[in-house]
């Protein structure tokens, strides 16, 4: 194998695939990055067995030559070392040459590295997915779907399936749900050309977080292929595979009440700020509890009381307050996360009782819905 390549393009590609490489892997070959060079271009592959990322750099783009291939071939190089070397090379022209026994020579300017590579035939093959059930989401929308849900996944391994986001295609909608069992985030999107067949997968939260870092903020299309074991996200130059979580995702639809006893409409930002202030006195190790109390004349009170720290009370004028009186305690953190996901608009909060889940959504629609379980105080 022999070729030369523009260093900045190689570095961009490496940045993406490095997100899949983990130093903790138990499979030695996966500490490396696979490089495949053909007459058309270069593919870089990184994987931690759960996530696999492949980027593609064409030989020529918009009339500019990026790679000059003398002899195609493949090699696996130690990811961390390779990445550091490329980052620190002195010029933008990099020349690669692989000779016998995976001896790899990297030259740039007057710098000349000799690395010992690994046999690329030992590197696992990419999963093969049938692309029947494919649909497309613009990159910026996909990013916001992830942002609005993934924060609610569980960080504890006690119920592994809750560390993922449940993606369900049903009745022409994509419904994404994440819950750590104490709060829940749901995002619904209506998409064209969704597969008619109903299907559902649980994508690890970590995979979505990594995917989100690779996606750009433009409307470039991302093709999504869901199968039983893997999900694939495809853009022009990146393939992102993720393992799916096994196990039955709990039925969360029953949690969302159909009728409410207390309805509050309030400016999301002013509520967020009041809760943020009240949480200053709420103890994090004690569930970070703040109290929400309905008052007379379209007013609510946010308060917090820690015997050893002190207490705080703050009243907020709301746009409307309908229904029964209510006193309820909940985690300030969960409430702030939820309000941030809805992002500053006027919100409707609907309660059915002090020991029951309540929901928060935008006044306009329920495309983004947040649900929180209260805290019981004694």
């Amino acid at each position: 194998m022999k070729f030369d390549i523009m260093r900045d393009r190689l570095l961009d590609g490496l940045n993406d695939v490095m997100k899949a490489v983990s130093s903790k892997t138990t499979i030695p070959i996966l500490t490396g990055i696979k490089i495949d060079v053909s007459e058309e271009g270069m593919r870089l592959t990184g994987s931690d067995a759960d996530i696999t990322i492949q980027t593609y750099i064409p030989v020529e783009e918009n009339g500019e030559q990026l790679i000059n291939v003398e002899k195609p071939g493949s090699i696996v190089l130690q990811a961390k070392m390779f990445n550091e070397i490329v980052r620190k090379l002195p010029t933008n022209d990099v020349e690669f040459e692989v000779s016998e026994k995976f001896q790899t020579r990297i030259r740039s300017g007057k710098s000349d590295f000799h690395l010992i590579g690994l046999d690329s035939t030992e590197y696992p093959l990419l999963p093969e997915l049938s692309e029947d059930n494919q649909f497309t989401v613009p990159a910026d929308l996909l990013k916001s779907i992830i942002r609005e849900t993934v924060f609610a996944v569980s960080t504890s391994e006690s119920r592994p399936v809750l560390t993922g986001v449940h993606w369900q295609i049903k009745d022409g909608e994509l419904v994404c749900v994440a819950t750590d069992s104490h709060r829940l985030a749901r995002r619904k999107v209506t998409l064209e050309h969704l597969p008619s067949e109903q299907s559902s997968v649980v994508v690890p939260g970590k995979s979505l977080t990594e995917l989100s870092k690779i996606l750009n903020d433009a409307t470039t299309p991302v093709d999504i292929v869901m199968t039983n074991q893997q999900v694939l996200f495809k853009t022009n130059d990146v393939l992102f595979f993720s393992r799916l979580l096994e196990g039955n995702y709990p039925d969360t639809s029953r949690l969302i009440p159909e009728e409410y006893k207390t309805d509050v409409t309030v400016n999301g930002r002013s509520l967020l700020q009041a809760i943020d202030r009240a949480s200053l006195l709420a103890r994090e190790d004690r569930n970070n509890v703040v109290r929400f109390t309905t008052m007379q004349d379209d007013t609510i009170e946010i308060s917090s009381n820690s015997p050893e720290v002190g207490k705080v009370e703050e009243q907020i004028q709301v746009s409307s307050l309908v229904g029964e009186e209510l006193k309820i305690s909940f985690s300030a953190k969960y409430m702030m996360d939820a309000l941030k996901a809805i992002d500053g608009q006027d919100v409707v909060i609907q309660f059915t009782g002090a020991m029951r889940p309540f929901i928060i959504r935008s006044v306009h629609d329920d495309a983004i819905l947040q649900l929180i379980l209260p805290v019981r105080t004694y």
Partner: protein, 416 residues
């Protein structure tokens, strides 16, 4: 907490000599002058010595020695089973004597405590007072003690250790370099085996090394404790004698040394089950709940390991503690023979202060109680918060549930 003068304090550390053995000798004078030892259960191997008399120590017997080994060293050794109730009564009597002098009495364990006598005596009078106290404890209770006199707790504790039995030692801050600095760090109060090992790895071998090490270096390697240890090594210790510290239970734990080394999961599980039962009962007696559950395992080679998990909801039910303890054990026990098992719930708070984050799996059970909660709230609104609360406030009398020597349950005896 009241502001008290930090400078020129006079603090006593009273340390009972071979406490359990002395109580037994006071109780049965025929044991006096004889080599005796208290062992967990002298018949079973469950037995290391909990303590032994000075007569036994003279024969090379020491605390934590295995029973069989002690018997070999000293065949005439008289072994007695522990009688914790007897020790607790004696302990209470000692602290009652101390409280006749000042309110500033802080029990730290069943057989030692601090008192602050700054307001009572000046200069040399301190030694006379210490002599009086020591004599009273000996005459009234027939129990020997050693007293350390110093301007702070750390120095007082170090001093009481210097002369035993029936010692009275004054330790001044300026004497510290001469007395302590040449000793290895492990000799210092507050430095255990693992800290000593860490310090040695950092090439800090003597207490003097520790006193002169850079604070930033210690902080970066040992955290806050590093800076604290350096202060102690320099004789600096601003902790007050706090009579209320007995109210701050920080953890509730039980452990057991096993009669035979366990290798079967089923036996380990049963032992853990029993420990959780006892921990849950003790938590309930004190009306506490804790955020952290930990397990301790000692294997046949005396390797100790402990693992813990912290939760945002405070835990007190046996079933909850058991589930976590078993889970931790399953993860960290790999079938090596087990000699000792322990379960501890720490980070404890009063159950009245707990708040439980409901989950999608359990909220329905709580929702059932909504009507009752509403009634309680209405009553409280009308008549004040104290009128009614959910049935968990009534104090249960502590029974002598704890059978461990390191238990702090004896502190219950000091609360009214």
């Amino acid at each position: 907490m009241a502001e008290r003068k930090q400078k020129g304090r006079i603090i006593f550390h009273i340390d009972m000599n071979c406490f359990y053995a002395s109580v037994e000798q006071a109780h049965d004078p025929t044991l006096k002058g004889k080599a005796i030892a208290i062992a967990g259960n002298p018949k079973e191997r469950r037995g290391i010595l909990v303590t032994c008399s000075y007569e036994a120590r003279a024969k090379g017997v020491y605390t934590t020695m295995a029973v069989w080994e002690a018997k070999r060293k000293c065949p005439e050794l008289i072994l007695l089973p522990p009688n914790f109730e007897r020790y607790r009564i004696a302990s209470k009597a000692i602290f009652d004597i101390l409280r006749t002098y000042t309110e500033l009495v802080e029990p730290v364990s069943i057989d030692e405590g601090y008192i602050d006598v700054t307001e009572l005596v000046k200069g040399r009078e301190a030694i006379e007072l210490a002599e009086t106290i020591q004599k009273r404890i000996l005459n009234e209770l027939d129990l020997p003690s050693s007293i350390g006199i110093a301007p702070n707790k750390f120095l007082a504790k170090t001093a009481s250790d210097m002369k035993k039995p029936m010692g009275i030692t004054v330790l001044r801050k300026r004497e510290l370099p001469n007395i302590l600095w040449s000793l290895p760090v492990i000799e210092m109060h507050g430095v255990g085996e693992s800290t000593a090992k860490k310090l040695n790895e950092l090439k800090i071998n003597t207490i003097g090394d520790l006193a002169q090490a850079s604070e930033a270096f210690l902080k970066s390697n040992l955290g806050k404790n590093g800076a604290r240890l350096k202060d102690r090594a320099n004789g600096i210790d601003n902790r007050e004698v706090d009579p209320n510290s007995i109210y701050d239970t920080k953890s509730v734990g039980n452990s057991t040394t096993l009669p035979i080394d366990l290798v079967e999961w089923d036996e380990v599980r049963k032992t853990i089950d029993g420990l959780c039962e006892r921990v849950a009962k003790r938590l309930s007696a004190k009306n506490l709940a804790g955020h952290t559950v930990s397990i301790q395992i000692r294997d046949a080679d005396w390797h100790n390991s402990s693992r813990s998990k912290t939760f945002s909801n405070a835990i007190y039910k046996k079933s909850d503690i058991l589930e976590i303890a078993l889970d931790l054990t399953k993860k960290h026990w790999h079938g090596e023979p087990v000699r000792l098992l322990g379960v501890t719930v720490s980070n404890v708070i009063d159950r009245k202060e707990t708040a439980e984050q409901l989950s999608i799996f359990n909220y329905e059970q709580h929702a059932k109680e909504e009507p009752i909660i509403q009634v309680v709230e209405q009553l409280q609104k009308k008549f004040g918060k104290e009128i009614i609360s959910k049935g968990m406030k009534e104090k249960k009398k502590p029974n002598y549930e704890s059978q461990t020597s390191f238990s702090k349950d004896f502190l219950e005896d000091h609360k009214d």
